[in-house]
């Protein structure tokens, strides 16, 4: 199901739809602390848009936009942003994830510092969830061996 289909209707509709899905995912992440939604749901929506790209165009054509190394980097950076915000509060003599301590470096009052702190945590969660969802889908739909990598694995197996 990861190979390129020949249906032009599916490809055209998903090409038109994907930017709006991603915009909605960013909206859900950015308004997570005011309204329903948040980093997890917005990250899932962003991941679903990339999965739609992979389903409609196949891995061979879409891997320049969704490379697997970039997914690994994104999941690591997302967790780093989340944990880094918590440890930054720890460094600023507060508790872990005590956003009010961020007021010292953001030059605002405690309420605004709490709002910005939860926003940065949700951005980190959204990045990590998006990358992990797409890599889980890639692993399940290909059985761990991506298309185009079978020959390389056979070569290394023959050499060894």
């Amino acid at each position: 199901m990861i190979y390129r289909g020949e249906d032009i209707i599916i490809r055209t509709i998903s090409r038109m739809l994907i930017p709006f899905i991603q915009l909605y995912g960013l909206y859900v992440i950015m308004h997570g602390h005011y309204s329903p939604g948040g980093g997890f749901q917005g990250g899932v929506i962003l991941g679903a848009s990339l999965i739609l790209l992979l389903l409609a165009y196949g891995y061979q054509d879409a891997k320049s936009r969704v490379p697997e190394k970039l997914l690994t980097v994104f999941s690591g950076v997302g967790v780093f942003i989340y944990a880094g915000t918590g440890f930054l509060c720890l460094v600023l003599l507060g508790n872990f994830l005590d956003y009010a301590m961020l007021a010292k470096i953001l030059h605002t009052d405690a309420a605004h510092a709490r709002s910005l702190g939860i926003l940065s945590v949700e951005i980190g969660v959204g990045m990590a969830v998006m990358a992990v969802m797409v890599s889980i889908f890639l692993d399940i739909s290909t059985g761990g061996v991506l298309p185009g990598e079978e020959e390389e694995k056979q070569k290394t197996a023959e050499e060894a």
């Binding site: 859900v28 329903p36 997890f40 999965i51 889980i136 889908f137």
Partner: protein, 81 residues
């Protein structure tokens, strides 16, 4: 006569839940489970838990169905019934 919407939703949810267990074809079972998640999402929203409904719609009805279908595509049909 007016029918309360939560009664209709509950009937749909129970029908989808039983059907996804009973049906033989794995792809149909995954699809019916997606429909079950969608009705469950409407049920959460009707009960006022909008955040839970949002999570149910995006995670269970969206990603969960895709992962089930991707896993079903890797299986082969062995039994003949």
């Amino acid at each position: 006569m007016t029918v309360p919407i939560d009664l209709v939703l509950q009937i749909f949810i129970i029908v989808c839940a039983v059907a996804s267990i009973v049906v033989k074809d794995l792809l149909s079972a995954a699809m019916i489970l997606g429909a079950y998640s969608f009705f469950m999402c409407i049920m959460w929203a009707q009960m006022g838990a909008v955040d839970v409904a949002f999570t149910e719609a995006s995670v269970s009805a969206g990603i969960g169905t895709i992962l089930f279908v991707a896993a079903v595509m890797k299986t082969t049909r062995r039994s003949k019934d």
